[in-house]
Symmetry: C2
Amino acid sequence: MTLWALEIEYDGTPFMGWQRQKHGLTVQQVMAEAGAKLRGGGPVTQALASGRTDAGVHACAQVVQLELQNLSPFRIREGMNFHLRPHPIVVLRCCPAPEGWNARFSATSRSYRYIISNREVMPALEANRVWHVRQKLDEHAMQRAAQILVGHHDFSSFRASACQAKSPMRTLDFLSVRREGDKIFIEARARSFLHHQVRNMVGSLMRVGDGSWPESQMAEVLEAKKRAVAGLTAPAEGLYFMSVDYDPPLPLV
Amino acid sequence: MTLWALEIEYDGTPFMGWQRQKHGLTVQQVMAEAGAKLRGGGPVTQALASGRTDAGVHACAQVVQLELQNLSPFRIREGMNFHLRPHPIVVLRCCPAPEGWNARFSATSRSYRYIISNREVMPALEANRVWHVRQKLDEHAMQRAAQILVGHHDFSSFRASACQAKSPMRTLDFLSVRREGDKIFIEARARSFLHHQVRNMVGSLMRVGDGSWPESQMAEVLEAKKRAVAGLTAPAEGLYFMSVDYDPPLPLV
């Protein structure tokens, strides 16, 4: 058996998130079972992701480790994709894992995108793919408020109560807000995030965007280190896990 | 009763196309029934679209006419959207129809977009939203071949056998092919199209893109005026009805 790194895309809508659950289908379970089928039987070994995603969250390029045969990357990708059907998960690229590499602990940076559909009418074509916010948002105010969050901070105000991280300290490398027509794109990058951190930051940015908060309130919320003072948790369906970096980069093909 | 012009967006996936069928749900039926509910009962009057779409074809801004009460555009839009739930159809804008206006016959131009996902792995996030073509396509050759089709021609080679139009002559005003990453966008505009014309043109452009045909063959196919010599009909799920123009423009709000 060889440890493989698999870059995958998935539609989060039908899944109860990444992590295996007793009741309900998860991405982790479907990946592990497809791997067992590709190996032709034997025990189902665990699949490990660079980061867990919540129910409904999508991924454009999540990276997963899984033990599989010593085949060519082409045959691993095609074999996995055959066994993953009809679930909306595909292996985009793969490579044998470098010595000592771990999908989660070797990651040096993770990127997320959040998409808001900012128009009066709810989405038909993009249902389950965006957060629908009717009230016109000021993306420039959101972009300025976002810069308050960039840097090394105690992000307790943006941390889910269920978060298992030992420390609430994180370094947010990048957070940007831009509009394209009636869509607002929020991009976030950090070595790692707290549980619900991106969705909670988006919920607070929305309060600035709709005028409920002055931009300066973002600094007060960050300073308070209390979840209760921040905005709501933005819904899962607007969130996309975009990419994860490793150093050295994975030789995915 | 007032005749309304309604600009609508829909996800074509769950529908058997626009036109009412004995067996299976259509956009026309759902629109007419929502209208009847908004009127508070009475007979279901027919909804008429600027152009029919096939099963699985999407619309970003289709225009439909329907008799409804004399209410404000805001109340018409919100009322229709309430009664359209949970179907993936929404009214984006609307206005009372100008005197003598007809959704179909007053249209001066229609625009379609076709999206190809041109990568080796099938789409997970964009399933039912794109045509997946594995073989690398040459979008520049496709763009050059597309220009052969622009203009006033007999489009019999690109016409479905079921097409009910009296004449196969059409004027194609615009046809362009461009790539963005692993997606290829094909945009088409004409006063009107024959049945399956856009999908049949895309099927032939794909033959140029994958190298099966030299670019010059597009002229021979057009000249032959025989459906059998052209490429396959590209699948419905990659096609989007983008917009329809009227002269004077509709005062949609």
